[in-house]
Symmetry: C2
Subunit: 463 residues, 2 copies
Amino acid sequence: MDKQKDFSEWYHTVLEEAKILDQRYSIKGMLVYRKWGLFILKQMQEYLEKLLEENSHEPVLFPVLIPDNVLGKESEHIAGFEEQVFWVTHAGKTPLERKLALRPTSETSIYDMFSLWIRSHTDLPLKVHQSCAVYRYETKHTRPLIRGREFLWNEGHTAFATNEEAEKNLKEIKVIYGKLINELLCLPFQINKRPDWDKFPGAVYTLAFETFMPDGKVLQVGTAHNLGQNFSKVFNITYEDEEGGHKHVYQTSYGPGFGRLLAAVISIHGDDKGLVLPPQIAPTQVVIIPILFKKSEKEAILDYAEEIKTKLQKEGIRVEIDASEERPGAKYYKWELLGVPLRIEIGPRDLKEGKLTLVRRDTGKKETTDVEKLDVNAIFTKIEQNLRETAQKNFDKNIVEVKNLQEFNKNIGSKIVITGWCGEDRCAPKIESKGTILALTDERGKCVVCGAEGRKIRIGKTY
Amino acid sequence: MDKQKDFSEWYHTVLEEAKILDQRYSIKGMLVYRKWGLFILKQMQEYLEKLLEENSHEPVLFPVLIPDNVLGKESEHIAGFEEQVFWVTHAGKTPLERKLALRPTSETSIYDMFSLWIRSHTDLPLKVHQSCAVYRYETKHTRPLIRGREFLWNEGHTAFATNEEAEKNLKEIKVIYGKLINELLCLPFQINKRPDWDKFPGAVYTLAFETFMPDGKVLQVGTAHNLGQNFSKVFNITYEDEEGGHKHVYQTSYGPGFGRLLAAVISIHGDDKGLVLPPQIAPTQVVIIPILFKKSEKEAILDYAEEIKTKLQKEGIRVEIDASEERPGAKYYKWELLGVPLRIEIGPRDLKEGKLTLVRRDTGKKETTDVEKLDVNAIFTKIEQNLRETAQKNFDKNIVEVKNLQEFNKNIGSKIVITGWCGEDRCAPKIESKGTILALTDERGKCVVCGAEGRKIRIGKTY
C-alpha cells in the first residue's frame, strides 16, 4: 500500500482490511460499520459526551422522524435542506397524513420541544446534546466516512437569555471540540468563520472546524452556529424574565461528525503499513507477541506473556496476546495494519534476562526494557505527542499566504491558501472557480485579482 | 400517586416527573428520551453488549434503511411486516428508484451482507449484534415504552454450520437474556415457545421472554428465533465445507427491547412514591442529604458529606450530595421519586458520633451505622435480593392452573393462566377471545372447553 502514490486506493484498502467498515451495502452512501471502526467511533463519542456533560449539557434522544410542518417552520432552514431530505410518505400501503423527514439535523424537532420545556428564566440556560445518525441525500460523489447519506455525529442545542451567554457557550465549544480533535485524536485543525453565503441555513453565523487531508483537500469535521433568535421566534421559545416580561431566547447549535473525524485519523496518521491509531482510541492498545521457536520454551514464554498482560490490564490498558500459529512476521504485519500503538515481543532471551522488546507503531523503533521499568502510559504519551507534532507540522506546511494570481494558482488545490479579496463580484470567479472560501476574515488584505483593498480570506479545495 | 388504584395514571406521572421521557413529541408513538431514562437504557445496553461480546458476538452497525427488494426477499418475512413498514419514497422532491424501508428488524439487511462475509467453514460460526432503533407503524393504541413506533433494542444475528450449533446458541441466549432480565434488572420472567401461527415471520420457531405487569397483562420483553435455513436459502448464504461441498448455513436471531424492559422495571419495582431502581442501573445510586439547621454546623457537616462522597466514589459508586436550599422533606420526596436506592442522612449528631443514617428506597427502613462500617455494596446486594424476591413472589402468585371454564374466565385477564386445549378450532374461540396463547407446550392436558385430551397452554392478556 502506497499512501503517497494513490491515496484513494490506500484509503479504501485500509477501511476494508482493518475491518473499519464494509462499503458494499445495498444503498449507495450508506455503510456497515464493523468492529474496529465502531470501537473507535464509540471512544470519540464517549470522550465528547463526558466533556459536554461536565459542561452542563443534558443527554437527550429525539426521534429520527420530523413532520414536514415542523421541519418547515424556519424558512431559510428548510430552503437549505429540502433538496437533501429523505421523506417517509407511506406506512405499509397507506399514505401518511403528513410527510415525515429523516432528520437531516435536529434543530427543528428539538426546538419544538424547547418551547414546551422553557417557561421561566429559571429554566435557562438549557443545553442538551444527543449522539445519533442524521440523513442527507447527497447528490455529489459519495466517499466512505467523508460524504455519505447516513452519518454519525453528536449535536448540541442550547437556549440562553442573552446573546452574550450564547457567545460564551460557543467559546467553550471551541475548547471542547478542540480537545476532541487535538487532544484525543492528535489532529491539527483551524476554525474558519464561513462567509455569509455559506453559513448553516437559519444561522446568524457559522464556525467550521477544519483539518487537512493528504490529498490536499480541506476536511470540515465539525461546525458550530450562533442561531440568534431566528429559531426561537418561529418556534416561539420564550421565557418570563424576573420582571414578568416575555422574551425570546438566544440559541446555538453545533456538531462534530464522528465519521469524518475517523476518516481524518485514518488518513492523517496512517502510513504504508496501514492504520496508526492514537493510543486512547485504539481498540487494542498493546499486542504481545510471544516468539516461539522451540517447543520446550513455549510454556514459560506464554506464562511470561500472561504476566505482562495481567499487569497491563490492571493499569487499565487494552492488551491482547497473539499466540496464534502464524509466523512472527505475519503477526507484525497484521497488528501494524490494525494500527495497534505498541507491540511487545517476548523471545527466549527476553524471558531469561527479565526484559521485553518494545516496538512503537508510530516510529517503528525497537527498544529493549527491563520488565520492572515498563511504563506503557508514558510511552503512550510520547506516541501522542509525536503524532500530534508530526501532523501539526504537516498542517502548518500546507498553509501558505500568496500575493499574486500566479502563486495562488500554483498552490490552490494542494494547500490552504491565505490571500486577499476585494469582495467584488467581478474578481470572484478567478478565486472561487479554484476552491471554496473557507473564511472571510476581518483582517485587511489586497485583492489577489485586482489589487484593491479588501479582506483576507482562507481558501482551499474541499470534499 | 396510587399505583394500585390507577396504574396507568401512576405510570404516566412517573415517566414525566422522573424525567424518563417526554410523550409530547409531534409524532404519535415516538418519544423524546431524557436524562434519567437514557442513563438506565444505556446501562442495560452496556451490560448486554458485554455479555454478548464475551460470547463471541462482534458488534456491527447497519444502516437504518433497507431497499424494498432486500426486505422483500423472504416471502413470509415481508408478509409479516409489510403493513408496519415506514417507506421512504422521495429524496427532496425526487422520487427514489426504489422504496427504502426504515428497518422494522434487520434480518434481511444483515443477511444480505452475510452472503458476502461467509465463504468457508472457517468463517463460521458468525455471530454479530447491534444496538439500534427499529421502526414499526403500530396501528394499535400506543403506550410509551410498551408499544411505540420507534423502539430501542439490541439484535443478535448468527450463522452456523449445523442446526445443533444454532440450538446451542439459543440455549446460551436464554442464559444471557436471563441475566439481563433477572440479575441486572431483578425482574421475574418466563420463556414461552409461541404457537406456530404466532411465530416471527420467517422463523422455524420463536421463544418469547415474558414478564407480568401490575395491571394483569403479560409483557413480552424479548424474543429469540430459530430461523433454520429459511433466510440462508433466499439470501444464498453458503459455506464451503471441508470436503469442498457448498451448504446453506443455519441461523438464529434475537432481541430484547430496552424500552419494554424499562417499562417493566418502572412498573414492577415502583411504588406510590415513584421509581424504585435496582442499584446497578440507577443513574444516582446514593444521595447524601446533609441536615442543616444551624448555620454554625453547616461547614462541618458539608465537609463530612464530601468525605463520604469521596470514599464512595473511590468504590465506583455514583453518589450525589443534595446541598440545595430545600427542606429535608422536599429532598426526600424528590430523590424517592427518582428511585435512588440509598439515602444517607447526615445530621449534627451523626457528625459528632461518627455515624450515618441510612434509608433504603426499597423498604423505607432507616438504620444508623458507624461510618467505618459503611458497606454500600453489601446494601446494594440486599436491595437487589429483596427486589428480585418480591417481584418473583408476585409473579408466581399470578400464574394459576385452571381445570374448568369458570375458573378460566375468572382468572384470565388478571393472571397468566395454565390450562389445556384440544387444539380444535371449535374450542378456540372460547379461549382466544379472552387472551393470547403465549405457549403451546408439549405437556398433555385436558381441554378446558370440551374436556378432550390435548396439550397444556399458557395464556394471558397481552399489550
